[in-house]
C-alpha cells in the first residue's frame, strides 16, 4: 500500500487489508482512472469478479467500456506512466493465487508477469517486434523466467510453435513476423504467451483482426490449450459469438462498470439487464430464422469523462422510466443477485425485468 500512496496512484480510501480470497483470481472494486486535460476519465469504475483455475471468463462490451483497461490493470501494465507524468490512478485489489498485486513490489509483479500470468494481444503485428525473429522473441520470454541456455530455450520455442500448429516449426522459428500470415502471427503470439505455462491467460480481442475461418482455428486452439494446461482464461471481446464458444462465466461491461455477471448460460438465456438485451437484439444470428428487423440500442456509448448520473445506461435505456421517482437518473444501481451466481445492476424490480424479458424481448430475438 505504501508504494501506491507514495506515487499517488491510489484513489479514495486506502483499502483495509482483507483476507486472501479462496478464488484463484479475485478482483475487488478495481478502479482505473486517467487524469486528462478534459477531466478524469473513469475507464474502470469499481469492478469485482472471481475466476477459478481451468475456467474461462468472458468480458464483453462496446469500445470504450473499459474491457482492455481492466486486462492491462490485472497485468500491472498501467502504472508504468506511459501518459507522460500523469499516471493512471488505480485502486482496489487484485488477488492472484493468494498474492495482492496492486500493493506488491513491482519487481515481484514483474516476476509473475509472463510466468504466472500472460497476455495475448489483439493485433499480433504490432505486438511482435519486427526486428527479431519469432524464435528470438519466444526464447527471450522463456529465458527471462527460466535459467536455461539458448539451445534448450530454442528447442522449447520450436516445441511451442509445433504445439500451436505452425507447420515446419524448426524452419519457421527463424522467420521474422512479416513472413507470417495474420493467423500464424496470432499463433506465434499464443506460443509466446504459453511458453512459461502461465496459470492465468488474458486474451484481449484475440481474433478480432482475423477472418472467420482463422478465428475458428484460433478459438479451437485456445480451448484445447486451456484443457491441456488447466489455466484460467479471461477472454475479452465485443463478439458475443466468441464468448459463447469459450466462456463459462460472462461479465457485461458498460461505461466502466459491470452491468451483468453470471454463468454464460444464464446471461444468454435469462439476461436481467436492458443493455444485455440490447446486445442480444443487435446481433443478426445465423442459427435462427431470418429476423425481420434488428433491435438496436438507440444512441451511442457514453463519454467516460461525463458518465451519465444515476445508471450510466439510462439515456439509452428504453425502460428508464419504469422505476419510480426518476431513480434511474439519480441513483447508481448496485449489482444485486438475481439468480444463483448471477448479478445485474438495474433499478427495475426482479419481476418487472423477468416480465419484460419473457414477454417483450425474448419473442423478438
Amino acid at each position: 500500500m505504501t508504494e501506491l500512496s507514495k506515487s499517488g496512484a491510489a484513489v479514495g480510501e486506502p483499502t483495509v487489508a482483507s483476507p486472501a480470497p479462496s478464488a484463484f483470481l479475485e478482483v475487488r472494486d478495481l478502479k482505473v482512472h486517467f487524469p486528462t486535460d478534459d477531466g478524469l476519465v473513469k475507464s474502470v469504475d469499481g469492478l469485482t469478479f472471481q475466476l477459478e483455475k481451468g475456467k474461462t471468463l468472458g468480458i464483453v462490451g462496446e469500445s470504450g467500456s473499459g474491457k482492455s483497461v481492466t486486462s492491462l490493470g490485472i497485468m500491472g501494465l498501467h502504472t508504468a506512466g506511459q501518459y507522460g507524468k500523469r499516471k493512471a490512478r488505480i485502486s482496489g485489489e487484485i488477488w492472484l493465487d493468494g498474492t495482492e498485486l496492486l500493493s506488491a513490489d513491482p519487481d515481484h509483479v514483474r516476476k509473475l508477469r509472463g510466468r504466472q500470468m500472460a497476455m495475448i494481444f489483439q493485433d499480433p503485428l504490432s505486438a511482435l517486434h519486427p526486428y527479431y525473429t519469432i524464435g528470438q522473441q519466444i526464447v527471450e520470454a522463456y529465458r527471462i523466467h527460466h535459467d536455461v541456455d539458448k539451445k534448450t530455450a530454442k528447442r522449447r520455442a520450436v516445441e511451442m510453435l509445433d504445439r500451436v500448429g505452425i507447420p515446419q516449426p524448426d524452419k519457421r522459428v527463424d522467420n521474422y513476423p512479416h513472413e507470417f500470415s495474420g493467423g500464424m502471427r496470432q499463433r506465434a503470439m499464443i506460443a509466446m504467451s504459453l511458453v512459461n505455462n502461465p496459470e492465468l491467460l488474458i486474451a484481449d480481442e484475440p481474433t478480432t483482426a482475423l477472418d472467420v475461418t482463422v478465428q475458428a482455428q484460433i478459438l479451437d486452439l485456445i480451448r484445447d490449450l486451456q484443457k491441456e494446461f488447466g489455466s484460467a482464461v479471461i477472454i475479452i471481446t465485443h463478439d458475443l459469438g466468441v464468448v459463447a464458444e469459450l466462456a463459462d462465466d460472462l461479465l457485461v461491461m458498460y461505461g466502466g462498470r459491470c452491468v451483468e455477471r453470471g454463468p454464460a448460460e444464464k446471461v444468454f438465456y435469462e439476461p436481467r439487464h436492458p443493455y444485455t438485451w440490447g446486445l442480444l437484439g443487435s446481433m443478426p444470428r445465423l442459427d435462427r430464422d431470418q429476423q425481420e428487423r434488428l433491435i438496436p440500442v438507440k444512441g451511442s456509448p457514453p463519454s467516460l469523462i461525463n458518465v451519465p448520473s444515476g445508471c450510466a445506461f439510462n439515456p439509452r435505456c428504453p425502460y428508464a422510466d419504469v422505476p419510480k421517482d426518476n431513480v434511474t437518473r439519480t441513483v447508481r444501481p448496485e449489482l444485486t443477485e438475481v439468480g444463483s451466481k448471477h448479478w445485474a445492476a438495474c433499478h427495475m424490480s426482479q419481476e418487472q425485468r423477468e416480465r419484460i424479458w419473457t414477454e417483450e424481448i425474448a419473442p423478438k430475438l
Binding site: 462496446e62 469500445s63 507447420p167 500470415s181 495474420g182 493467423g183 500464424m184 477472418d211 472467420v212 475461418t213 482463422v214 478465428q215 475458428a216 482455428q217 478459438l219 479451437d220 480451448r223 465485443h238 463478439d239 458475443l240 459469438g241 466468441v242 464468448v243 459463447a244 464458444e245 469459450l246 466462456a247 454464460a264 448460460e265 444468454f268 438465456y269 440490447g278 446486445l279 442480444l280 437484439g281 443487435s282 446481433m283 443478426p284 444470428r285 445465423l286 442459427d287 431470418q290 429476423q291 428487423r293 434488428l294 433491435i295 438496436p296 440500442v297 438507440k298 451511442s300 456509448p301
Partner: protein
C-alpha cells in the same frame, strides 16, 4: 475553371431534361451486368521497374445486379471483394472484362465520361474516420455531390442537405459541425447521406458496418434497410460478416481468391450451401448460444491460409484446402453453373447436390489431410445429403416420366418406393441420413401429387437431367424468368 464549366455543360442538360432522375428501372431489371471482370495489379521490380508478376485480385467475375435487390458479397480478406466494389464503381480501371450499367458499357470510360454516371452509382466506404475530410463541415461534405454535378436541388443545397441529414437520423442543425464532433456511427450516417444526395440507383457499400460497435451496427443496418424500402435503392453490400450479409441481402456471392465460387439466393445459400468453401465459411461463424459450446464437432476447420493471389493454385482455386478435392480439381477449373434455379456454383464435387465429376473419386493427398480436420459428423452429414439427393433425383425422374393424370398417383407411389429404397441405402450412414432422406421423400411425393404431368416441378428440372447435360440445363434456367424476389 474551364474544366468545371465543361463539366457543368455535360451535367446540366442531363439534369434539365430530367430523364436520368425520373427514369427508374423496374424492379427485377438488370441494372449492372459484369462479364469476365479482371483486375491484376502489376508487381514491379528493379531499376527499370519491369513487371515481374501480378496480383490476381479479381480474376474473372460474372454476375448481374437486378434493380431493387441487395447483392451481398462475402469472402475472407484478400479474396478481391473490395477490389470488385471499386471496379464496378469504376474507381479502378479493369484489366479485362466488361461492366455494363443499364446497358451502357462503362468498362473503359474516363473520368469525364464517368461523371454523369457518378450520379447513379455511389459508394459508402468502410472507415467513417478516413472517408470524411476533417477540414470540411458536414454541410460541405454532403453538399459536395450537388456542386460537382452542377445540380441545384429544389429549395437550395442547404435545405436539401438538412433534409438528407434528417433522413439518415441526424440532427439537421448539425449542418456546420466538423466530422470529429461525431461518433463512428454518426459518421457512417454522414457517409450514407452523401451517397444518397444525388438519388442514386446503385449504392455500393464496402464493409459499411464492420468498423462499428454491435449496437450501432444494428442501427446502421436498419437504416440501410429503411432507405432501400423508401427510395427503391439497389445495393451491393460487401462484408466479411456472414450474419450481417444474410440479414441484408437477397442474393449472395461468395468469393475466394478473386473468383465467385457460389452465387445464390439467400435462403438457398444458407440452407443448402453447395460449394465446400461456403459450407466451411458458414460453419466457422461462432454462434452466440452457449448450449452449442459442446457442439464443436459441427465445425469444418480449413487447414492453413488462403494461398497467395500472385500465383493462385491451378484448376479449382480451393483444391489446396478442400477435403473433397480430386485430380480433376487440380487440373480443370470448374465453371460457375446454375445447378439449381437461383444457385450458381463453381465446383466439381458440390455439397447437397449430385457430383459433377463422379468418375473422379481418388482424393488428392491434400484433401486427405484436410479431411482429417473435418469432423466425422460433417462428413456423415454430407454423405447423408447426397443419399437424400439420390433419392430425390430418382423420385423426380419417376414423377417426370408420368404421361397422364391417371398415371400420376401410381408414379408418385413408385417414386415413394424408390425413395424408400434410397432411404434403406442411406440407413447405413447415420441417424441424420434417415431424417434427411425421409424429409426429401415426403417433400418429393407431395410435389409429385400437386404438380400435373405437363408442368414439371421447376425444382427438379435440372436434377432430373443427366449429370453430363447439366450445362444446357443450366443455361435453360438462366433464360427462364428470375425467381420471385422476396421482400
Amino acid at each position: 475553371m474551364s474544366d468545371k464549366a465543361k463539366d457543368e455543360a455535360v451535367a446540366i442538360p442531363a439534369q434539365s431534361d430530367g430523364t436520368t432522375l425520373t427514369k427508374d428501372p423496374a424492379a427485377g431489371d438488370v441494372l449492372l451486368k459484369v462479364t469476365g471482370l479482371q483486375k491484376h495489379f502489376p508487381i514491379k521490380k528493379g531499376l527499370l521497374q519491369r513487371q515481374v508478376g501480378a496480383v490476381h485480385a479479381v480474376d474473372g467475375l460474372d454476375f448481374e445486379v437486378r434493380a431493387g435487390e441487395t447483392l451481398g458479397v462475402v469472402g475472407e480478406s484478400g479474396c478481391g471483394k473490395s477490389t470488385m466494389g471499386r471496379l464496378i464503381t469504376r474507381l479502378l480501371e479493369p484489366t479485362g472484362g466488361k461492366i455494363e450499367f443499364e446497358g451502357t458499357d462503362i468498362t473503359h470510360l474516363g473520368v469525364g465520361g464517368m461523371r454523369p454516371l457518378r450520379r447513379d452509382v455511389q459508394m459508402i466506404f468502410q472507415d467513417p474516420y478516413s472517408s470524411l475530410n476533417p477540414r470540411h463541415t458536414i454541410g460541405t461534405i454532403i453538399g459536395a455531390p450537388f456542386k460537382l454535378q452542377g445540380v441545384e436541388p429544389e429549395g437550395g443545397i442547404k435545405k436539401e442537405v438538412q433534409r438528407l441529414l434528417s433522413v439518415v437520423g441526424l440532427n439537421p442543425e448539425h449542418y456546420n459541425r466538423y466530422p470529429h464532433e461525431f461518433s463512428g456511427g454518426q459518421r457512417q450516417r454522414i457517409g450514407i447521406a452523401r451517397a444518397l444526395a444525388l438519388n442514386p440507383k446503385l449504392v455500393v457499400a464496402d464493409e459499411p458496418v464492420s468498423a462499428l460497435d454491435v449496437s450501432i451496427q444494428a442501427q446502421v443496418v436498419n437504416l440501410l434497410d429503411d432507405l432501400q424500402q423508401e427510395l427503391g435503392l439497389t445495393y451491393v453490400i460487401i462484408a466479411h460478416d456472414l450474419s450481417v450479409v444474410r440479414h441484408v441481402s437477397d442474393r449472395i456471392a461468395v468469393m475466394y481468391l478473386g473468383k465467385i465460387v457460389e452465387l445464390a439466393d439467400r435462403d438457398l445459400l444458407y440452407k443448402t450451401p453447395m460449394h465446400p468453401y461456403t459450407k466451411a465459411l458458414m460453419s466457422a461463424v461462432p454462434i452466440p448460444d452457449p448450449a452449442r459450446k459442446s457442439a464443436k464437432s459441427e465445425r469444418i476447420l480449413l487447414k492453413g491460409d488462403v494461398p497467395s493471389p500472385i500465383s493462385p493454385p491451378s484448376g479449382c482455386r480451393f483444391h489446396t484446402r478442400c477435403w473433397k478435392a480430386t485430380e480433376i480439381c487440380k487440373t480443370k477449373e470448374p465453371p460457375l453453373l446454375e445447378l439449381r434455379p437461383g444457385q450458381q456454383v463453381a465446383c466439381h464435387h458440390p455439397e447437397n447436390f449430385e457430383d459433377q465429376a463422379p468418375q473422379d473419386t481418388v482424393l488428392l493427398s491434400d484433401a486427405k489431410e484436410a479431411a482429417e480436420l473435418v469432423s466425422e459428423e460433417a462428413l456423415a452429414e454430407s454423405a447423408a445429403t447426397s443419399a437424400a439427393l439420390a433419392a430425390e433425383v430418382e423420385a423426380a425422374s419417376g414423377a417426370g416420366d408420368a404421361e397422364s393424370g391417371d398415371a400420376e398417383s401410381r408414379d408418385a407411389e413408385a417414386g415413394d418406393a424408390e425413395a424408400g429404397d434410397a432411404e434403406a441405402d442411406g440407413s447405413a450412414e447415420s441417424e441424420s441420413a434417415k431424417e434427411e432422406a425421409a424429409a426429401s421423400e415426403s417433400a418429393e411425393s407431395e410435389s409429385a401429387e400437386s404438380e400435373s404431368a405437363e408442368s414439371e416441378p421447376a425444382e427438379s428440372e435440372p436434377a432430373a437431367s443427366e449429370p453430363v447435360a447439366s450445362e444446357p440445363a443450366a443455361s435453360e434456367s438462366t433464360e427462364s424468368e428470375p425467381p420471385a424476389k422476396e421482400k
